[in-house]
């Protein structure tokens, strides 16, 4: 059996689930953030695969955009985490309970 679009999509789906698992299970803000990155990457993979198997470069352009946005997002997100850490001395989601009654 030759490797086709479906293979890539399944890998992408598995990676996406792994990223989500990280976001749900892990309690460290930075690791959660890494899970998010993993999810973005999984989406990228399926986009590139679509682009390849549909002979259309738009998917790749979209991936290019996503990578750029991800870079900006990481910069802002990490700055937020640093600011939060300065204020609370923690990067643990369960310690951040300001909104809790």
């Amino acid at each position: 059996m030759n490797v086709g679009l479906q293979h890539y999509l399944i890998v992408s789906g598995l990676l996406f689930s792994l990223g989500l698992l990280g976001v749900v299970v892990r309690r460290n803000l930075l690791v959660i953030f890494m899970g998010l990155e993993l999810m973005l990457n999984a989406a990228n993979l399926s986009l590139v695969a679509f682009s390849r198997y549909n002979a259309n470069l738009d998917g790749q352009v979209m991936v290019f955009f996503i990578i750029t946005v991800a870079a900006a997002e990481v910069a802002v997100g990490l700055a937020l985490i640093v600011a939060l850490y300065r204020k609370r001395q923690t990067a643990h989601v369960e310690d951040l309970t300001t909104l809790k009654l």
């Binding site: 030759n2 479906q6 399944i10 789906g13 470069l57 352009v61 910069a75």
Partner: protein, 171 residues
């Protein structure tokens, strides 16, 4: 040699999944640095997959931006904040259980939809999809010019925002 590229696909895909798993759920270590390093490996494996999909430019950009800059930033922040290993007792079984069920459900949906995807044609004969960087550039700067410009503004906004956020005496 289709056989050989198939082998490469399985190698890269297996590596990506293994390292991805070790990123989020490493059974040995909860160290954020370990997670970050495995995420770097995942990203590099994904770059390998991009190469198999003839997206050479994206593979290079993936390594350059993600592995070279974004993850270094992650490491930088982990070291700057001196974040210790997550304590083990804090992992609640309830969270893990519910999370796993939700993730498994999502995975099921994704798998079903992936299997129902039209296989498409493994293009390569058309010039459009052979991963030529010049072609990508043409598409990017003709059809997608406005989003590109908006993106550049977004980057600028992010830059200014980060500088503001990281000021210590923010009023």
């Amino acid at each position: 040699m289709p056989q050989f590229t198939d082998l490469l696909f399985f190698a890269f895909a297996g590596m990506a999944l293994l390292f991805g798993f070790l990123t989020v759920a490493n059974p040995v270590s909860r160290n954020p640095v370990t997670s970050a390093m495995f995420l770097v490996l995942t990203i590099i494996s994904l770059a390998g997959l991009y190469l198999l999909l003839h997206a050479f430019f994206l593979a290079a950009v993936q390594v350059l931006v993600y592995a070279g800059a974004v993850m270094v930033l992650f490491l930088f922040v982990i070291m700057l904040l001196d974040i210790k290993e997550e304590e083990r007792r804090r992992l609640k079984t309830f969270t893990v259980g519910v999370g796993s069920v939700a993730v498994a459900a999502l995975l099921g949906i994704l798998t079903v939809s992936a299997l129902s995807a039209k296989p498409g044609s493994p293009a390569g004969q058309t010039r459009l999809a052979i991963g030529d960087t010049a072609e990508l550039g043409k598409v990017l700067f003709n059809h997608w010019l406005l989003p590109f410009e908006i993106l550049s503004v977004l980057l600028l906004v992010a830059m200014v925002g980060v500088i503001l956020l990281s000021k210590k005496d923010l009023k």
